[in-house]
């Protein structure tokens, strides 16, 4: 696919052209041009930092709507584990699951259940793995996209498994197809997402050729409908027990949940894209070889901190933890033997390697790139170093880069412009002082006087 689709987009009407988002973006993917923010498509990793940062709520995530359900004969909702942390304390897991039937889904399959499969597979994989450590989680697409452009060296250490979302879609559709006798293609699987990067992941998946997910619906879009149907058991008699995931899968909703589920000897869990960056810097330098597994999440707090969620991340986390404590089913749906069989068959292994994307390079030719770099350093030195962002680039260095790439000018810098105006003003003043000889005051010299 040539056009790289992005979920994170701009609501031009709301954007006031301030510079808050450009300064927060971890990959410097936003510029302000003609009074509006512009997202540099090839750089954006859909982490959602700008959605959180924008004071005017002008950054939005494009997700699918419930209308897309009409395209399929049979629809399955795939709620993310973190979704269950979005409700008041008296709501239980079963109530939430039933609500999906209430709003038009035929079935609901917890992504937490698929997470348990991935967790088990990664655990087994780590037991046999002899290569470079640590192994990174493959669950957060924003982090993988970050690694593609900034830490390509570490990509071969990404756990070679599909994401829980992908696994959930595959199992849910296979099961439904068998049970209902409906062709696989006529079944729609919809991920209920706290995360814009998952939308991008569905359209341009990194670890598989084609995603089995048919739509990604933002939690923010579906929340009100779900609230209205909480505990709605009018459909299907209300007797089925829908909750199947255990606390191990549910806990993937917040940071540390995944690594606990994977249960390697030494694990490390980090949330927040800027924290992830400093950790990856360290690992790329060759540190932390003694750590087996690193859970890396773009959002602070993990998926409960997703930009499309309703609740504050801390509230979401405590609600989710509380739910797990009260309603986490004891009996696992998949037996140890099932999980072992899945792992041995390599059923949910990644089929595509995550490829680097060298978009930071100044030029394909090293010599020419070096020339540009020379110029880049020169320009940077001449810029004021305020990193004010008024030029529309996130900092002075980024402006210098934009100048080199031919998409900005030195005079875009207000300080530089001011200097130029000053020089010009002085020149004008100097010029104004010069009087033609025919008009100059020569009385002092005792020549032919002239009044003025």
């Amino acid at each position: 696919m040539n056009t790289y689709f992005h979920s994170v987009t701009l609501d031009t009407d709301k954007c006031k052209g301030c510079t808050n988002c450009i300064k927060r973006c971890p990959v410097e993917a936003i510029r302000v041009r003609d009074g509006k923010a512009v997202i540099v498509q090839e750089r954006c990793i859909d982490c959602g930092e700008c959605i959180r940062e924008c004071p005017n709520h002008a950054k939005i995530a494009v997700t699918d709507s419930l209308a897309k359900l009409s395209e399929y004969k049979y629809n399955i909702a795939l709620p993310a584990p973190s979704f269950f942390g979005q409700f008041k304390e008296q709501v239980n897991i079963e109530d939430v699951l039933y609500a999906f039937r209430g709003i038009g889904f035929d079935e609901v399959f917890e992504v937490a259940l698929a997470a348990e499969i991935v967790g088990h597979s990664v655990h087994e994989f780590l037991n046999e793995y002899k290569g470079k450590r640590p192994i990174f989680s493959s669950a957060c697409p924003a982090v993988l996209r970050l690694m593609q452009i900034k830490y390509p060296d570490l990509l071969d250490q990404v756990a070679p498994f599909l994401t829980p979302m992908e696994v959930a879609a595959r199992i849910a559709k296979e099961q439904a197809s068998r049970k209902m006798g409906i062709p696989y293609e006529e079944i729609g699987a919809f991920f209920i997402s706290p995360c814009p990067a998952k939308v991008t992941e569905m359209r341009n998946p990194m670890t598989t050729k084609h995603s089995a997910v048919n739509g990604v619906i933002g939690v923010n879009l579906i929340y009100k409908d779900i609230i209205r149907h909480l505990g709605d058991r009018t459909t299907n008699g209300g007797l089925d027990k829908l909750q199947r995931a255990t606390k191990f899968g549910m806990a993937w909703g917040y940071v540390t949940g995944e690594s606990r589920n994977i249960a390697a000897a030494t694990t490390l869990a980090v949330g927040g894209i800027h924290n992830v960056i400093s950790l990856l810097e360290e690992i790329e330098r060759g540190e932390l070889k003694d750590v087996d597994f690193v859970e890396v999440q773009a959002c602070t707090g993990g998926c409960v901190g997703g930009p499309l969620n309703i609740q504050n991340l801390f509230v979401g986390r405590i609600r989710l933890r509380d739910l797990i404590k009260r309603f986490g089913t004891r009996e696992a749906y998949f037996t140890e033997a099932d999980l072992q069989e899945i792992y041995r068959q390599n059923r949910f292994a990644a089929t595509e390697p995550v490829e680097p994307r060298a978009i930071m390079t100044l030029d394909e030719d090293v010599s020419r790139a070096l020339m540009k770099m020379e110029r880049l350093d020169q320009i940077t030195d001449e810029l004021p170093g305020l990193d004010c962002g008024a030029c529309g680039s996130p900092n002075c260095r980024a402006l210098a880069e934009d100048i080199i790439r031919g998409i900005a000018f030195e005079t875009d810098c207000v300080i530089k412009l001011r200097e130029k105006v000053k020089i010009l003003a002085e020149e004008i003043l100097d010029l104004a002082r010069i009087v033609p000889p025919s008009m100059s005051d020569t009385s002092k010299k005792g020549g032919v006087g002239r009044e003025h």
Binding site: K132, D153, E282, E284, R285, G286, M360, A369, L370, M373
Partner: protein
């Protein structure tokens, strides 16, 4: 005189390192790495260079009272030079041995000074020169060629 026909582009990056300034070593390595990525160098070359810079800067931070890391990039090679004022190295051959270390207990406690620095640098460099005077300081010059395919990077 600079002849415009033989002009080769080059850049120089400099970092000051103070005594026990462990933090700055990582920063040097990261900054240089970002620069080299922008230049489009191969990942394994960048990695070797980053290791050299990190280890060399760490050596300055651990053993010297002050020092300087200078990174000089030309179209075909990079030179990493550290100059420091400090204890110096008594026996360079011995210092190059894996596991040999004169780092203090405190520094080892912090997880540094395992005696792998110089041997790591040697493994990653195409050319390495170390000059040292006890009680005065040490100068290290490491060179990595971008096109050299004859050697393999370590892990």
């Amino acid at each position: 005189m600079v002849d415009s026909l033989t002009y080769t582009p080059q850049i120089t990056l400099e970092f000051k390192i103070g005594e026990k300034d462990f933090f700055v070593a990582g920063e040097c390595a990261s900054r240089v790495k970002k620069t080299l990525q922008q230049l489009g160098l191969k990942q394994n070359v960048i990695k070797r260079i980053a290791i050299i810079i990190y280890e060399a800067a760490m050596n300055v931070a651990i053993h010297a009272t002050s020092g300087m890391v200078t990174v000089h990039v030309e179209p075909d090679a990079i030179t990493i030079r550290t100059e420091d004022v400090g204890a110096g190295i008594e026996d360079i051959d011995l210092a190059m041995k894996e596991g040999y270390s004169t780092a203090t207990y405190e520094i080892r406690e912090m997880g540094f000074g395992a005696g792998m620095g110089l041997s790591n640098i040697k493994q990653c460099s195409d050319d390495l020169k170390i000059e040292s005077k006890v009680g005065v300081g040490t100068t290290l010059n490491a060179k990595v060629y971008f096109q050299d395919q004859t050697r393999q990077a370590d892990g």
